[in-house]
Symmetry: C2
Subunit: 141 residues, 2 copies
């Protein structure tokens, strides 16, 4: 079923007419299997033995975000981190500040508040970004 999530991404990629290439397959696998927010460089190092170029990793990440199969972590230092994600259900993540491990928060806690926010601010609301930060059980002091 871990396998399954990668395979869902493979399928969606192909359904949209993109080729399922080795670099894409490997990047998707790593993102899903590690369950961590990873940088392009980290992915490149994890895949060092495969001879995949850093450019292809960047291109793959861009495509995955476009397809909703990955998203950029909001807390960005110098390097952007990416999180594997399944498209469709709107939800959020908690990311370990030490090891980058990601857990899903399977539903959105905020939709009930969008009306309140609209009334208070006079803005229409199109979307929001929410990410929790903390420590996973392995990294907790």
């Amino acid at each position: 079923m871990i396998r399954n999530m990668s395979h869902n991404s493979f399928a969606l990629l192909q359904a949209r007419g993109y080729k399922l290439t080795e670099p894409r397959r490997r990047v998707i696998e790593q993102l899903h299997d590690r369950r961590r927010a990873l940088t392009a460089l980290e992915l490149h190092q994890l895949l060092a033995s495969e001879g995949i170029s850093l450019a292809s990793i960047y291109r793959t990440l861009e495509l995955l975000v476009e397809l909703g199969l990955a998203e950029a972590a909001t807390r960005s230092g110098d390097e952007q981190r990416y999180i594997a994600c399944s498209p469709g259900q709107h939800h959020h993540h908690i990311v370990c500040s030490r090891c980058g491990r990601v857990a899903d928060i399977t539903e959105c806690l905020l939709e009930p508040f969008e009306d309140v926010v609209r009334e208070r601010t006079g803005f229409t609301i199109e979307s929001h970004t929410l990410e929790f930060h903390g420590y996973c059980s392995a990294c907790r002091q």
Copy 2:
């Protein structure tokens, strides 16, 4: 009172032992007065007549974030945007996707949920990033 918010930042800067210089004063004023999420380059252009270097603008923004007087917008394209903020009270922002205008959401909607998130994910929660995106009244279609 708009003036006031800038002055609060001026005061905090000095209270922490930093010099209140012309570049710092001007960057703080712009961020507060425009009420928009601005890039370093935009600030540089807004302050073109003052002969302030881009380097100083970057250095000032870094300091303001460090002091909690500004924060980086979470939806970052290529250039990072910065939002003036008063330290102390935890709250969030809604940012206009067209003009960058910012409104405060004066309280945090999420603290009640942190327990739930902790229980569900097994993570301890240290913080979260939340930002709404939409259109201000002037930019609404």
